[in-house]
């Protein structure tokens, strides 16, 4: 098993190029990363709105809001 293409350093470095593991699978990695990126935006948007709704439900009365402004 060799993931990097380098099994020994008995080589002329001038002939060595990429040495990261699983070369050839870059496109699959990119697709996974793109899905993760888009998913992250969607999920964190939802988290942010849920948190805002919760805040309004718990603290959205004039008493709390006045307290927040006065303590600032």
């Amino acid at each position: 098993m060799n993931t990097t293409g380098i099994s020994s350093w008995a080589v002329d470095l001038a002939d060595v190029g990429a040495i990261y593991p699983f070369q050839g699978l870059e496109l699959i990695l990119l697709i996974i990363a793109l899905i993760f990126w888009i998913w992250w935006h969607i999920v964190t948007f939802r988290m942010e709105f849920d948190r805002q709704d919760e805040k309004i439900r718990k603290y959205g009365n004039s008493e709390h809001i006045t307290q927040a402004i006065e303590n600032d």
Partner: protein, 453 residues
């Protein structure tokens, strides 16, 4: 690396860009300090996280497509040629030089230097929209400016083959336009749609001062941006190249540092001019604001930004005067726009970056009129009209318009602005109360232990 001289040049260049990246990190630290200092106590943590999270988001998207755009679009495309597929594919996220590769030591550090510019572009927008934008909406805008708009303008006007350089003689050595004007214009486009913070304007339209909660933090943040700006400046240069390596009109065998356009300059020149334009800006900022600390420090930045387009060539006293003029105009424009159009730019980013950058490009076109924009044959020389058109493209076409349109879309879906109640109570309010309650519970438990219960 064929011989020892090649090896030395390559390793020096690799280390040079790496060092600029480490220095430029301080720009972001400075922006975060500055924004948190400018925000009110009830918004601190959200303000910090909103800006900080652009780091990973712009980084990954710049890896996914931003870097590819730079190499693909110097011709427009279809203005001076088609898409540069060969160069673009070599720099795509699936290329083998975009990873550990012993035959290419420069791409990683060069990519990172550009990436740090991308963070700066997005961070400039971040400060102006504090305390009322949804973080999720800002992060989409950050990707748009950081991995989209700015890097298209870099391909057009900050690439040795860019069509703006070839046809317009556009010259912008240290990014007055390609970073600052575009980000300032983008911020203005967002602000027009986003609207002012609640309470910013009185019923009669008169603006109120929403003071920074911590002016000290704001000023130290700006100081740190100055520090990081050194890295920004040197990252805009090619540190060492031979005439053969340039391959243009230059004769002889004298190696040199060059701008991004491969036109000769020196680190000494940009050190003179950085410091003199900073000084002109700070002195004018102090004068025009009557000793206001925020505008004095911002004036230093505006001074550098105004002179940046031509700081590869200016005389240091020219850089000082240009820095002072840009700061004066940016300050005056900030308050004129605020009063006239009710624009609430919380940190003056549109003025310091957008207006100063625009003005700097226009001045550069006059002061460097006739100087070759490139070492290659057939390129237009630097001229006032070319740089003026370039300023409009940077601030208006690639800055304001994308910011405005994207914000309109986010607004149409109800994603752009936080609810009124949350804005009034502050973004941190509920979390702060819960943290306070948790801390109280621990204290009570500890006291109970002391009392032996």
């Amino acid at each position: 690396m064929g011989n020892n001289l090649d090896a030395l040049t390559t390793i020096f260049t690799e280390f040079y860009y790496w060092l600029t990246v480490a220095l430029m990190f301080l720009i972001h630290v400075g922006f975060c300090m500055y924004e948190v200092g400018a925000s009110r106590r009830r918004n601190h943590m959200h303000t910090l996280l909103k800006n900080s999270m652009l780091i990973p988001l712009v980084t990954i998207t710049f890896f996914f497509f931003g870097w590819w755009i730079y190499w693909a679009f110097p011709n427009g495309p279809f203005i001076t040629g088609g898409i540069e597929w060969e160069a673009a594919n070599a720099n795509s996220p699936v290329s083998d030089i975009m990873g550990t590769n012993l035959s290419d030591r420069i791409t990683g550090v060069f990519w990172a230097a550009f990436l740090l510019f991308s963070w700066t572009a997005a961070s400039i927008v971040s400060g102006s929209v504090i305390e009322r934008i949804n973080s999720g909406a800002f992060w989409i805008l950050a990707v748009l400016i950081g991995s989209g708009a700015w890097i298209i303008d870099a391909a057009w006007g900050w690439h040795y083959q860019g069509w703006m350089v070839q046809l317009l003689g556009y010259h912008d050595a240290y990014a007055s336009g390609v970073i600052h004007a575009v980000a300032g214009g983008f911020a203005l486009g967002v602000l027009v749609v986003l609207g002012p913070r609640l309470g910013k304007f009185a019923a009669d339209g008169k603006p109120r001062d929403i003071l920074p909660h911590n002016p000290w933090l704001v000023c130290i943040g700006l100081f740190l941006i100055y520090t990081g700006f050194w890295g920004f400046y040197v990252a805009c240069n090619v540190p060492l190249i031979s005439p053969e390596g340039i391959g243009g009109n230059i004769t002889g065998e004298t190696w040199t540092a060059t701008t991004i356009y491969l036109t000769p300059t020196t680190l000494g020149a940009i050190t003179f001019n950085f410091l003199m334009s900073l000084s002109g800006g700070m002195m004018m900022g102090y004068f025009v604001s009557r000793g206001n600390a925020f505008w004095t420090y911002s004036g230093g930045l505006a001074g550098i930004i105004t002179a940046s387009a031509g700081n590869d060539l200016y005389h240091p006293i020219q850089a000082m005067i240009i820095g002072g003029v840009g700061t004066y105009l940016a300050y005056k424009l900030h308050y004129w726009v605020e009063n006239k159009f009710k624009i609430d730019d919380a940190v003056g980013a549109v003025a310091v970056h957008g207006y100063a950058g625009f003005i700097g490009l226009v001045i550069c076109g006059f002061v460097l009129w006739g100087h070759p924009s490139s070492p290659y044959e057939g390129y237009a020389a630097i001229n006032p009209l070319g740089n003026f058109i370039g300023a409009i493209i940077m601030f208006g076409v690639l800055g304001f318009l994308p910011g405005y349109i994207a914000s309109k879309i986010l607004h149409a879906f109800g994603l752009l602005r936080i609810p009124k109640e949350v804005e009034l109570m502050g973004l941190d309010f509920g979390t702060a109360l819960e943290e306070e309650a948790a801390a109280r519970e621990v204290r009570e438990a500890e006291i109970a232990m002391v009392n032996g219960k």
